[in-house]
Symmetry: C2
Subunit: 636 residues, 2 copies
Amino acid sequence: MTFIMLGGYMGNVLRVDLSLGRISKEPLSEEMARKYVGTMGLGGRVLYDEVPPWVEPFDPANRLIFSTGPVTGSMTQTAGRHTVITKSPMTGYFGDASCGGYWGAELKFAGYDQVIVQGKATKPVYIWINDGAAEIRDASAYWGMDARETDRALCRDLGDKAVQVSCIGPAGENLVRYAAIMHDDAGRAAGRCGVGAVMGFMKLKAIAVRGHKRVPVANPDALREAILKVTSYYKESPQVQGLHAGGTPGYFAVGWSIGDSMSYNWQNENFKEFSQEKISWPGGYDLILAKTATCYTCLIACRRIANSGPDGPRKIEQGAEGVEYETLTFFGPSCGVDDVYTINKANDLCNLYGMDTISTASTIAFAMESFEKGLIDSKDTDGLALRFGNGDAVVEMVGKIARREGFGSLLAEGSRRAARTIGRGSEDFAMQVKGLEIAAHDPRAFQAGGGPHYATTVTGGRHTEGISLAFENFGAVSEPLGCPQPWDKAKSDPLQMVLVTKLFEDWVCMLNSMGYCYFSTEGRYGGKDDELNHISAYNAVTGLQMSVQDSLLVGERILNLRKAFNMRHGCTRSEDTLPKRLLTESNKRAGGAVVNLSQSLPEMYRLRGWDPATSKPTRAKLHELGLDDVAQDLWG
Amino acid sequence: MTFIMLGGYMGNVLRVDLSLGRISKEPLSEEMARKYVGTMGLGGRVLYDEVPPWVEPFDPANRLIFSTGPVTGSMTQTAGRHTVITKSPMTGYFGDASCGGYWGAELKFAGYDQVIVQGKATKPVYIWINDGAAEIRDASAYWGMDARETDRALCRDLGDKAVQVSCIGPAGENLVRYAAIMHDDAGRAAGRCGVGAVMGFMKLKAIAVRGHKRVPVANPDALREAILKVTSYYKESPQVQGLHAGGTPGYFAVGWSIGDSMSYNWQNENFKEFSQEKISWPGGYDLILAKTATCYTCLIACRRIANSGPDGPRKIEQGAEGVEYETLTFFGPSCGVDDVYTINKANDLCNLYGMDTISTASTIAFAMESFEKGLIDSKDTDGLALRFGNGDAVVEMVGKIARREGFGSLLAEGSRRAARTIGRGSEDFAMQVKGLEIAAHDPRAFQAGGGPHYATTVTGGRHTEGISLAFENFGAVSEPLGCPQPWDKAKSDPLQMVLVTKLFEDWVCMLNSMGYCYFSTEGRYGGKDDELNHISAYNAVTGLQMSVQDSLLVGERILNLRKAFNMRHGCTRSEDTLPKRLLTESNKRAGGAVVNLSQSLPEMYRLRGWDPATSKPTRAKLHELGLDDVAQDLWG
């Protein structure tokens, strides 16, 4: 029985308490759905309300929230996403990880918008959700299995190949802080913020889902019309077509040319030259590319499917998930590795163990620099010569991290904690913000917007929270968001880019919360009707009448809610900064730039309505966003 | 080689990094020793400096600091103590646990004032400190052993019965949040704040110590004189002699008579009458009392040594450590148990498993009330009828907690987290402050001082941070501290008691930091020269010329340093409160009192120089205390 009057929602939340073994179905609040939309918004409000500041990430009072958006599972484009929300073991603050594939849509078909998991089982369990019914089951037989094996074993044991599995591998079981939650035959990850480690702490191996319901659509005719517009736009857009052709690895050559893609733990040429041709696409990458694939209802089809590679220690399963841009850059040049088979292998191992490739590879690159500088030696690394370019060491270290063996156990804590242990100046080149390793987009290549963005991003070093990279370098348009025009990197006032960033960030919060993929539209493609089409589809699904400007306000509300969570949980203004390297060492490929925050950070606080002394959202701003109760929490 | 010019210090700090397997000797800073004295002060400054807010309690970047004071190991009275300091897994804030016995003195004899442990071993280890030399050794053979077995096995394997062992039992290994660190044949505990859980997280089973050095004394003649004064005072003091005769259990009958000792999870007669005679001393307690014992250089000799009890499931080893007052009250009336053998058994199990008896028993009592109220049932408790008075269930639950079996795993998280899981109003009777269970002194029996004390105590529900209990009820004098005189509970202004509490708290910080036992003098005995004698001995040992008023300033500095740690680590004014029960349900045996914080809490902030809106120490107060660098951290 559904009480919610908005289309797009199934109206039900599944709550599972693993400590007491209790499971219950709760109605979704329509008021909350209107205010916080879905995914990180709706789930974020649950996290804000249910997890007080004293709760630690590894804590039975933490929550692990699997949250869809209203368009998830509908027939519009890129509607297969869900987000996992928790207090992050990487940062200690708000954590979320978005995931593609098919699991989110399947959860809707099973009748639920959200699954809220709390507590901690004493023995391994999994949750089986089958067309509304749900139960906690023993998972002892699956504990220790890698993510792909788990996915297949559950489909087999549940007797239905169409079952969608969300699960952890050994890394999550072993509380590797940046463990991921894997989906879709270990191909799609809710990768960042350590959501898989929280799942492992809870002793929750998997959530298997199967359903046959349909997502209710308020206005099917309008939806059809919106879908037609989006798909025709996709067919015309050179950016979408580029993504279709090359996937995310196709960006690598571009990123390299503008200094956005880094080498040698962000030292770049300051350490050594790197030949990027051997791994870029088209080029060396073709050796490990078998074909392409797609997520639920997506014409972009940016997924790459891998070749196994030649026989030997680098061989992987033919048809496994291919290497993405971030993985390529970090396991490649940032570790000094130019062998695509090594990168292919490291990527596959991360998927099997269930680990975020960004944090894994970036932490290894950090350790390599520590080794090269003599801060650690082979006695510390269990005999491994952890030098840049040593592909064998990279592959071995991935396994040691996942199993928490020897030196791997220290790296399993992430670069911030590893640097705290290694000391002796290594913190200056631990490339993280708020404890989360920065993604493979160097803010020195778009410092006007990227600097204040990375410094203030609620979840740390993310690239999917609204970076201004494309706008800043290629002058994308994004008229519907109200971005200042025109922009000329050489001539325009760089502070303009702070406003662009702020608008992108708000938009991305809304985009994610509706249930869309980041690639669906983030203001980066520059199409005039781009955002409008997505809002149209959202309106058609839900029956609402939102404008793009309305949606920006909702996005801003969600961003500020997450920011307020951080402030309540001990985050301070001093966390709004970047690693020293980015502030002081120039990036030659990006024109010798460093990031200068002296003006852009205060400007971001001003635009955001955040108190310049403490970075807390002001009472006035929170009131404007309808967050008076949050203001009460922050200001009394 | 010692560079420190003050007597009392060995001049060396042992630093052990378990992640990298590194061990080093560092000189103790004389400046720090003068400013922060020892134990929680000197160790507290290390914690403050080395553990930033983003570090979690279970984190390789946390620290576990074993810290002595300057009088520790000297020949003055009660000089056997050390304190373990860490970021607490119970509270998430500053944590410390003081311990008697002989370990602290032995560490000094081995040449060290402090041991700082950091990192996390991948396999169980112990640290062996032998007359200056120190090494990390494999502890696989001891992992899983109980604390007594560990202590004896290490003495045996190291071939020296005089080796002093600090170790964890299975509770610490299993990360029971309130695991203790045991010493002295599992007889003396660094019990509170979960220090043993941090040790277990680090995979550190034990620190074994042996030494033959002497603690340097600046002025031996003056020390002899001071010792003579202290010992003659001890012989004359009726309070000290009472403690000698009855130990802490001797207080139970008194505590009961004034409503200080609670029953049925602090419900007292509101739930049911309890017959206290069967367990008090003299009385029923005599059945489990074999003899008395002492810690290093202590004439008080408050330790009780237990009888085994009759054959059967309650039998324990003859001569094991006896039941203390806190343990007696919580496993006794607070769990509704009036059988001394059950209490004796539960106490012994806690010592063997290595668990804080206060948090263990109080959390069980909380669960019993939840059971009686129908918030949980026998399906949740693995079939146990967890009703008040069910001694079998208490004993079984102690083991289940330590082993983290079934429902025991939830209770292993402490009452705050258990209540968060059980919900439905149970948080109102989870008897904790800041996550730490309140000791067995009911602030409703001394609400004028006890209310603001417990509400603001840095480490949560402690009874050893300077409670005004004796002063408030029996009008102790404490002239040297400057307490307002005279005090008449019936007639005096209750706000006077806030000042008394503040002075006691400052004094106790200094007393602890010098290395004295809390029972040595805490202003509660009322002897005129009491505090003076202890400062005289401290001056004689160190060569300093401190007055009692000087020492109060140092104590206040240490208290504010710990408070500042909390504020940096996310603690807010809203944590300065008490469980709802104490604010709203009257205690009949204490004259029907409830705690009223409306005036006393603001008064405490005023006296302390803490900002009334946020509870942060003001810049002016921190400046007065020589903590300008801390002010910079808190206020920018």
